[in-house]
């Protein structure tokens, strides 16, 4: 059974989002929120929390699968490159062969320049569409 198509999702990062994410998640690493500090690091400026960028993949999968994703979805990803305020990040999913009753997708987040920021796989149980 073929996996259903999953619509891509794009978000533009802002420093305000990074600040809000730090407050909401409790991850207040200064590399994400302290611009003066971040400029002194090899990154040269603030970078987004990996989990913030990953949330775009999770949103994409939630939009496609709803309660099934909330109760039984899974992700396995690597953070490949940092995303920065001003970057427009696109999350997208490519269907793979299903396995053990689960739809499988190759998922990634890419920047507006086409740089892969996150890549990996996502799975969700097959449902009525299967």
């Amino acid at each position: 059974m073929n996996a259903p198509e999953v619509a891509p999702l794009s978000r533009t990062l802002t420093q305000e989002m990074l600040n809000a994410y730090a407050a909401a998640s409790g991850d207040r690493n200064p590399i994400h929120i302290d611009e003066a500090f971040a400029k002194t690091t090899p990154m040269g400026g603030t970078i987004a929390h990996g989990m913030l960028v990953l949330s775009f993949i999770a949103q994409m999968m939630t939009a496609a699968f709803g309660p099934r994703w909330l109760a039984s979805g899974s992700l396995d990803v690597r953070f490949r490159a940092p995303a920065r305020p001003g970057d427009t990040v696109t999350a997208r999913a490519t269907p793979l062969e299903p396995r053990e009753g689960r739809h499988r997708y190759a998922v990634e987040c890419v920047s507006q320049a086409g740089e892969v920021l996150i890549s990996g796989t996502a799975e969700v149980p097959q449902g009525a569409e299967a």
Partner: protein, 131 residues
């Protein structure tokens, strides 16, 4: 004094951390991630990644990260939907520790438990500059 993650030995088991995700925390997470989906309100549920993220945030109150630490990979498995207002317990363990190309590699496994059953399982791999 908060220990650094890199000071802890492989196999270290963290004290279980209890935390709750009320409507305000869930809304703050969704706003911060620009997540406007209505499904959470319809289901009365918290995004699974929010559960993992807030558990990680709670863990970071117990252990410090050396400057320059990077999040290298993340695995997450939702085992059950987590309702808004749930009180959860994060059971975390430093599963692996290794050195690679100037980095200290730490693998943290977490089970986030709701009513005695794992609701979310997560594995985070972080790289810290080797001292």
């Amino acid at each position: 004094m908060t220990p650094l993650l890199t000071d802890l030995p492989a196999g270290h088991v963290f004290e279980p951390i209890r935390f709750s995700i009320d409507a305000a925390k869930s809304s703050a997470y969704r706003a911060a991630t620009a997540d406007g989906l209505s499904i959470y309100d319809e289901e009365g549920a918290v995004p699974p990644l929010a559960v993992a993220a807030l558990a990680l945030g709670a863990l970071l109150e117990r252990v410090g990260l050396p400057p320059g630490t990077l999040h290298a990979s993340e695995s997450l498995q939702a085992e059950a939907a987590v309702p808004v207002g749930a009180t959860l317990e994060c059971r975390a363990r430093l599963t692996q520790r290794s050195q690679r190309a100037g980095w200290t590699v730490s693998v943290l496994d977490s089970e986030i438990v709701l009513d005695g059953r794992a609701a979310v399982k997560a594995r985070a791999t972080v790289l810290s500059p080797a001292s």
